[in-house]
């Protein structure tokens, strides 16, 4: 019999003993919530009135014509409150926190979207909030730090390890083992120890449920392919769950190719041959690690994809051949982002732009009576500093220099 929390051989709960009772309580609360239709209804109502669900499915007719192949549809998670799919998971866990009666939430964040979403939820539900963020990501995503602080959260820059997402996760666990009695750890993705992968996937499944209904209504049949970027994998799991039971729909996860798969500077766990099985951060999956089992430094222009591990659920689906994995390089991402802005007036996040890259590579070779869906996990205007820097935009630089001089004066 399959052990709970396992997906094939992947997953598990490799947790310090001090958290044993905390996980027992969390598992019980989650199991009860999942079995209670009123809980899901409360969640859907909250997302409809506080966020912007159902998010639209947009037919990108200009881009469809541009590539001359498949009809391209974009699932607009960018229109969720706080600008990304992250809100789905966070508001769901917020309702669970209320049920458990905890007073404080903590979270890790990479790009800052999960941090902003958690700070927002904490403000709405009246919870104390601390966000752990790698020092390198604090630098990359300064505007999100500003908003988290303004929303009332304490942002703690993490200076250990590679100073990115994985280190923020370690630090959040260190906080949790100290204050588990009044604190819930709002894990941001479908990774970490059980029940987090199952729980986050459940809250995110709302994306796939909507997308399934929307594509049938708007296009008349199921899509041929569905594309999603994969960091930890929560937006991908969210949309894929709407189509997993339909073998004719091909599911494609797109990882961060960074400077290229051959450069070693990337975060492609399943699309490259560089990852191997391991146990870290509380779960068993494929990690980018060396022969000793030490995690390697990863690279991506997108902070939210810059992570050593990947969802155990996706690793299992990959192993079963149910999800194909590809990688998009930093440079391809910038090109896809520019094209999407110019042709459709839509600004995908750098993370989401990875999914667009692969869709654009394939759309032209498909038939006009086929549809594809790209999951646009978040909006790109949060990345203004990184995007402007990557485009080497002269007028933006001039503005920053002037502003700097103004503050220095």
């Amino acid at each position: 019999m399959q052990k709970p929390g396992y997906y094939g051989q992947w997953g598990g709960a490799f947790i310090p003993e001090v958290l044993y009772e905390t996980f027992k309580e969390l598992n019980a609360a989650f199991t009860a919530a999942k079995a209670d239709p009123a809980f899901w209804q409360e969640y859907v109502d909250l997302m409809a009135t506080y966020s912007c669900r159902a998010t639209p499915l947009t037919h990108a007719d200009n881009l469809s014509r541009h590539f001359g192949g498949a009809q391209i549809f974009i699932k607009r998670e960018d229109l969720n409150h706080t600008g990304a799919h992250k809100a789905n998971n966070v508001m769901g866990q917020g309702l669970l926190v209320k049920r458990m009666g905890k007073k404080r939430v903590i979270a890790e964040t990479g790009a800052g979207q999960h941090g902003v979403a958690t700070a927002t939820m904490a403000a709405k539900f009246g919870l104390e909030c601390t966000i752990y963020m790698g020092e390198e990501d604090v630098m990359r995503q300064r505007p999100n730090v500003f908003w988290m602080e303004k929303l009332g959260a304490k942002v703690v820059p993490v200076t250990s390890g590679s100073k990115t997402l994985k280190d923020a996760i370690n630090e959040a666990f260190r906080d949790w083992v100290t204050r588990m009695d009044d604190t819930h750890y709002v894990m941001g993705t479908v990774c970490g120890p059980h029940p987090f992968p199952e729980m986050v996937a459940w809250f995110q499944s709302i994306i796939g449920q909507e997308a399934h209904q929307q594509i049938i209504k708007q296009f008349g049949s199921l899509p041929a392919r569905v594309y999603a970027c994969v960091g930890g994998g929560s937006n991908a799991m969210g949309i894929f769950q709407g189509f997993l039971d339909h073998g004719e729909v091909e599911l494609i996860g797109v990882e961060a190719g960074g400077h290229g798969i051959d450069s070693g500077q990337h975060a492609a766990r399943l699309a490259s041959k560089d990852a191997s099985a391991g146990v870290a951060q509380g779960y068993h999956t494929m990690f980018l690690q060396n022969d000793d089992g030490q995690m390697m430094d990863t690279h991506s222009v997108a902070a939210g994809l810059d992570y050593v591990g990947v969802s155990p659920i996706l690793t299992d689906l990959w192993q079963q051949g149910k999800v194909r994995f590809e990688a998009a390089t930093d440079q391809e991402v910038m090109e896809a982002l520019e094209l999407t802005m110019k042709r459709e007036g839509i600004i995908p996040a750098l993370e989401s732009s990875h999914a667009f890259v692969q869709a654009y590579k394939e759309a032209g070779d498909m038939e006009a009576d086929e549809a594809i869906i790209i999951n646009m996990s978040g909006r790109g205007d949060k990345d203004i500093f990184t995007v402007a820097h990557a485009f080497d935009d002269p007028s933006w630089k001039e503005f920053i220099i002037k502003k700097g001089a103004e503050y220095a004066a």
């Binding site: 490799f14 003993e17 001090v18 044993y20 009772e21 250990s160 260190r174 000793d292």
Partner: protein, 256 residues
């Protein structure tokens, strides 16, 4: 049974009311300094040393040991070097040596190959803070096959029911974490700690080690009669950082 027997034998010696277990992070600040630190510890009566094989994601450790892990790895410390060093230590010193590390180090080496190697070297036990009994069926079977004690951890949050489950799987001793949180912060010893220790004692027949925030003679004196082993971790790492390895001997001698 080997580890528990050596602990019992030490405790039976006249005047030995509590044993000392110390902790080093292999490769921090260097294996050469580790060698000197171990010598000073052994010469001054330490009965058990846990040698931490550094890992890039030391989730259960506090800032001092996190930094030590990171710097050991940045200096290029490998698992193979750690094993070679451990082999030297087991040959040179007649005390009990344990490996403390995270599960991925064993997993990546090959869990059985790691047990085999550790047995050859003369290691008596493992402390793996991220491997609960529910996850390690292979690990527990190999531990009895190779007679290496898989120690387990009690925490102040552990219920009596859980303590009994853990005791059924553990060998050697039980590592009682003195408080919530990570390694390296001061622990307040009070009535609730005494109740916790009584709860630990009720639920296992194994010797009890107490660690987390134990740093001075007063702490060891307080633990004597309540615990069988006092664990000094972060305190000696800080001491080596501040005063060099030669300060370790006098510090250890001052503890009991």
């Amino acid at each position: 049974m080997q580890l528990e027997q050596s602990i019992r034998a030490e405790l039976d010696r006249p005047g030995k009311d509590i044993l000392l277990m110390t902790h080093i992070v292999l490769g921090y600040p260097s294996l050469d300094i580790n060698r000197e630190v171990v010598r000073q510890m052994v010469d001054n009566g330490v009965e058990i040393i846990e040698m931490q094989i550094p890992f890039s994601e030391p989730m259960a450790d506090g800032p001092t040991i996190v930094r030590a892990n990171q710097e050991a790895l940045e200096a290029g410390t490998t698992v193979r070097e750690c094993l070679e060093f451990a082999e030297d230590m087991c040959k040179e010193h007649d005390i009990s040596f344990l490996f403390m590390t995270y599960y991925n180090i064993l997993y990546k080496y090959g869990v059985e190959a790691f047990f085999k190697k550790a047995k050859e070297i003369g290691i008596k036990g493992f402390i793996i803070p991220d491997l609960p009994p529910e996850e390690g069926e292979e690990f527990w079977a190999l531990a009895s096959q190779y007679d290496i004690a898989p120690t387990l951890i009690y925490a102040p949050t552990s219920t009596e029911e859980r303590m009994q489950e853990l005791a059924a799987n553990a060998r050697g001793f039980i590592y009682c974490v003195a408080r919530k949180g990570v390694t390296g912060k001061q622990t307040d010893f009070d009535a609730s700690f005494d109740q916790y220790m009584a709860r630990c004692r009720r639920n296992t027949s194994l010797p009890l080690a107490v660690g987390f925030g134990i740093s001075c003679r007063d702490d060891i004196a307080y633990l004597t009669g309540k615990a069988d082993i006092g664990v000094i971790g972060t305190a000696t790492i800080n001491l080596v950082d501040d005063k060099g390895p030669e300060a370790v001997g006098p510090f250890i001698a001052s503890l009991r």
